[in-house]
């Protein structure tokens, strides 16, 4: 973003960067930056809170009145990345005990995902598999977690992208089922801590790591701080 700010200014456009990592803005010195100490991935602050978002934008656009730069300001309100309210999102009861628990769960949540998609009109599922392929992708990660070599487990496409699709499927339906906008990282915490699929994904990631799979293949299947 800071690179583009310099490129755009040189082309005669005025820019304002919403900074997420202050150290980068300090070093790259874009002409105008407003740093928000917010969770990464939420540069405008609070989802579902138009008033709060307008406060961020008002302070950012006010920087355009400065006669020169670079200027780096801090938004006075910070949002902690951890310690927020956990997501209250109930999970389905076991339905088909012949299936692995994570696969049974992913299948049972399909109707919730459909409601989410109908409500928002958008989905990020679809890099390695479409929504119909989610249970099979989960099944492949369960096999990896149980010891099948990842190359033989039927993971669709690049493991990172298959993991992305499974994670996105759960995140989107969770937002539909939960009451109100999720707190910082709350959807991720729910996915990795509470769901069978999230636990299977982390177990598959550990199994790939322990089997000396190439680092980028397993590492980017989950956030770096997850074990």
């Amino acid at each position: 973003m800071c690179t583009l700010a310099h490129v755009f200014e040189a082309a005669g456009l005025a820019t304002v960067v919403l900074s997420s990592i202050r150290n980068v803005a300090e070093r790259m010195k874009p002409p105008r930056a407003l740093h928000g100490e917010f969770p990464l991935g939420r540069p405008v602050g609070r989802p579902g809170d138009a008033e709060s978002q307008h406060r961020v934008l008002a302070q950012a656009f006010a920087l355009l009145e400065r006669p020169d730069g670079p200027v780096l300001e801090d938004f006075p309100e910070t949002i902690a990345s951890t310690g927020g309210e956990p997501l209250a999102c109930p999970l389905p009861a076991r339905y088909d005990p012949s299936l692995p628990a994570a696969v049974d769960e992913a299948r049972a949540l399909r109707s919730a995902w459909e409601r989410s998609f109908a409500a928002s009109g958008r989905t990020t599922v679809g890099r390695a598999v479409d929504v119909d392929g989610i249970p099979d992708a989960v099944a492949a990660f369960v096999r990896v977690a149980e010891g099948t070599p990842w190359k033989d487990a039927g993971v669709p496409g690049i493991p990172m992208l298959a993991a992305h699709d499974v994670r996105s499927y759960y995140q989107e339906l969770a937002v539909e089922v939960a009451d109100g906008p999720p707190g910082p990282w709350a959807v991720e915490r729910w996915f990795y801590d509470e769901t069978e699929a999230g636990r299977a994904l982390l177990a598959a990631r550990r199994a790939m790591r322990d089997a000396d799979a190439p680092f980028p293949l397993w590492f980017y299947m989950a956030p770096g701080a997850e074990q």
Binding site: M1, T3, L4, A5, V7, F8, E9, A10, G12, L13, A14, T15, V17, L18, I21, M28, P31, P39, L40, G41, R42, P43, V44, G45, R46, P47, G48, A50, Q53, H54, L57, A60, F61, L64, E65, D68, P70, T82, G83, L87, R122, T124, I158, H164, R167, S168, V175, P181, P182, P184, W185, V187, E188, Y220, A222, P223, G224, A225, E226, Q227
Partner: protein, 154 residues
């Protein structure tokens, strides 16, 4: 076990990475905000579902987002940022509805007909973005009468 603080890990890691240097940076003074046409450029790699997404590695291209389009995919596949916020409200990454509210109030002059998305993960020198795709994106915006660009990262 303590709750993982992935944001702290990422901020600490990025602080150790080199960044490109810009000698003699430009500074463009905009017209008064109430007269400005504003566009958003985000590094969230947003794109419509019918269009190829960004490569998961380093992809210096940009996508063109119609101002009225909301069925956007978060094409930046990194797990290392909160994604639930975007799932709930795309404005927390791409505040296009907020821009329209500001235009309706007369705070900004108008909203650009298109916005643009790049991928946040780039090589350290960002050469293609600096020399090719970034200037090409700037030219499109200039041709569309844009005065001010709001840059939003993920």
């Amino acid at each position: 076990m303590p709750v993982p603080d992935n944001d702290r890990l990422m901020r600490d890691n990025v602080a150790k990475m080199p960044v490109p240097e810009f000698e003699k940076p430009a500074f463009t003074k905009p017209p008064p905000l109430a007269e400005c046409r504003v566009a958003i450029v985000t590094s969230a790699a947003l794109h419509v579902a019918t269009e190829d997404g960004f490569e998961p590695g380093l992809d210096p291209k940009f996508t063109v987002l119609d101002d009225g389009e909301r069925a956007l995919r978060l094409g930046h596949v990194s797990p290392n940022f909160d994604r639930g916020g975007f799932a709930a409200d795309l404005n927390v990454v791409y505040p296009v509805d907020r821009l329209h509210e500001l235009a309706a109030r007369g705070v900004i002059g108008s909203v650009a007909p298109h916005h643009y998305a790049f991928a946040g993960n780039q090589d350290e020198q960002v050469s293609t973005v600096r020399l090719d795709t970034g200037p090409a994106c700037a030219k499109r915006m200039r041709d569309e009468g844009v005065d001010v660009v709001l840059l939003t990262p993920v």
